[in-house]
Symmetry: C2
Subunit: 409 residues, 2 copies
């Protein structure tokens, strides 16, 4: 059961001028599943992507990087589920290129204008023939209003489709933003995982698109963790179709740039948090906010140490205010000159530890009350500076083990 | 059920001349449990210790560091279970010092000659009065032959007492080694965890004891992981009583130094591996051997990434040769210039992946056969150098979640 994650609200998923989506059932791995999505992008759009840092990255990720740097302009994305095309060597690159060429041929475009994405089982050959055979049906389905279908089309073991939108005024012009994501762990049956796509009709200079994609990812997808396993296929793409009639945005620090980025970031955060809310076996959504650090980086390092600790995660699952586990994770996070006598810990509004020891006023029943909630804010004070950072995670439950220990079937 | 870990063999636990052990039931947390151990060390012994790198280290760890550097010579160790005296601030230091002073008074020694160790619940006040009240009974029990009792006396949620010994000839003189350890996770009810103590009657110069302790820890306890949670109380102490009549060893690189270190290391490894074999919920003992690295450090970094991956650990639990998970963990281990096309992966003798992709000759039934074993060797080739390193770990099972999600009772 996802944590406070409703199904997409179609009225909030704005069509984006210049983007059409077609989804079909290509039988990549199983029959009768929406598993092939084509996103068509009008000429003149600005597109940028951010990809997994995993050195063992999948074939489509390698090709996305190539095609984005080829400079032809991106005109379509081709997304399949059921097979990640990861750990497949040269053969995997060949098969991914073949799908790009097939779609490019139908659209009369160079193959470099296609971005391929795959998610699903690792180390099995991509059935590129089935994908190529499904292209006509996907193209015939293409329409601006297909965002819910797209969110469904990229699901693997997600239990809920993930899509959010927003609208914002820029220089008196209404701009729309719609995004989708998928992922719930690194995922049964060893799916390779996180995909996020956002589109806006805003007009954004290509020169700042990469910076925009990076900053959006850093503020959203790079702040969530389910199990700390970085997948081979993680990809996040931002498309600005440049159809809205406001002046081109050529700096993220300009007034219009700030407005647009804030609106995009709010959607990106919802998409990223949706992955945690639908985390494998998740029963709780946990925000870990570290304050009083010397730098944001060290705050994030501490937040991730806490978010990745199996002991902390099982304590959340048990609703056990087992606070020594959080303090221990803070202690081993790797800040060599951390002064334990300055550490504070709060669960929501309950002050648990003060100056490195149990707060004399702390009562276990208060900690317990917070730990029973479906949404929990953990606040950790380092007492050594002004920086702060936040990470979102979920608990570690029996279902996580069940899901991931289940033999691939 | 621990993995291939029998109860201690008393005939292998050699008395060490110059070391006497007394164990009693002091009722630290629960009645009728051996929970207080005193180790008396004759004057003239060489003693060194290695302690947790957790910045949130427990009061006894802080005091051990002080006392070892005070230069008075260490004459006794005082070990309690039931309470870790961690996350207890100034009050915790005061109470730990009080126990040292009480024992020192009875032995007519300065308090700095006592090393205190605590393991058990975090963030609760140490009942130093009960510990001090138990000292007379512990001292009355002191004898050279009490190593099994000592191993039992330091257990918390361990399911098996952990003790090993060895004998070795040095310059025609028989030298004995005996060691004990405890730990099984970071542990219910949030126990603070790993303790290891080794003693030998060998004659070792104090000047090389710290180097010896560090090298033994690096080759044993620093190579194991259950859940990646570094406890606040981890401590490892080596005692050389200098009673054996061989020439003093003043270099670990001398012929005698190498013989002694090898014998000590073989015992230290058994003690460390015993913690993994008795790991919380463990059903399998897994050796992760990384070869072909540029440095041993990077091999170890990769081995730990694999050993800590919840996805890899659940796959072992499921006996699922889910090899993409291992490759993905190799990929995110943090080696920036790793060339995935050179990665090899073997399970025991089964070649699974070659040059970054599935070995064409690999059959899943062969991988499955190895994954079903209770002891599994994972060999990862990085193909970029000559260095190698090894880490030992266990799987992640339902019982791990059950044990750690159980509310403290």
């Amino acid at each position: 059961m996802p944590v406070n994650l409703p199904a997409p609200n179609p009225s909030e998923l704005y069509p984006i001028a210049g983007v059409q989506i077609g989804v079909t059932e290509a039988g990549v791995r199983k029959a009768n599943r929406k598993d092939l999505t084509v996103v068509l992008i009008d000429e003149g759009a600005s597109v940028a992507g951010v990809f997994t840092k995993n050195r063992f990255c999948a074939a489509p990720v390698q090709i996305c990087r190539e095609h984005l740097s080829a400079g032809h302009g991106i005109r379509a994305m081709l997304i399949n589920t059921g097979n990640a095309n990861a750990g497949t060597g040269e053969e995997g690159l060949f098969r991914a290129r073949s799908t790009c060429s097939a779609l490019a041929g139908k659209l009369k475009l160079p193959p470099e204008s296609i971005l391929p994405f795959s998610t699903g089982v690792i180390m099995e050959p991509l059935p590129n023939d089935r994908i190529e055979a499904g292209l006509d049906a996907a193209l015939a389905n293409a329409a601006e209003g297909n965002w819910v279908r797209a969110a469904e089309g990229i699901m693997t073991t997600d239990t809920v489709a993930k899509a959010f939108g927003a609208q914002v005024m820029i220089d008196g012009v209404l701009v729309s933003i719609t995004g989708i994501s998928k992922g719930a762990g690194m995922i049964r049956p060893n799916m390779a995982t996180m995909l996020g796509f956002m589109a806006t009709d805003a007009s954004v200079s290509p020169s700042i698109m990469q910076q925009l994609a990076r900053e959006l990812a850093d503020g959203s997808f790079n702040r969530v963790t389910v199990d700390g396993d970085t997948s081979t296929n993680d990809s996040f793409v931002v498309i600005a179709t440049n159809k809205a009639k406001h002046p081109f945005i050529d700096s993220l620090d300009s007034a219009n740039g700030r407005v647009l980025k804030a609106a995009l970031l709010s959607v990106a955060r919802k998409l990223a948090q949706a992955i945690v809310r639908d985390g494998e076996g998740a029963t709780k959504f946990i925000t870990i906010q570290v304050e009083g650090g010397k730098t944001a980086d060290e705050c994030r390092q501490v937040a991730y140490a806490v978010a990745h600790s199996p002991l902390v995660k099982t304590a959340f699952y048990a609703s056990d205010p087992n606070l020594g586990r959080i303090l221990a994770a803070v202690g081993y996070a790797g800040i060599d000159d951390l002064d334990q006598s300055r550490i504070d810990l709060l669960l929501d509004d309950v002050h648990v530890a003060k100056n490195g020891g149990r707060d004399p006023a702390y009562r276990e029943e208060d900690g317990q009350r917070v730990m029973k909630q479906a949404e929990i804010l953990v606040r950790i004070g380092l007492g050594r500076g002004q920086a702060t950072d936040t990470v979102w995670t979920c608990d570690l439950s029996h279902d996580y083990v069940t899901i991931n220990a289940d033999y691939r079937s």
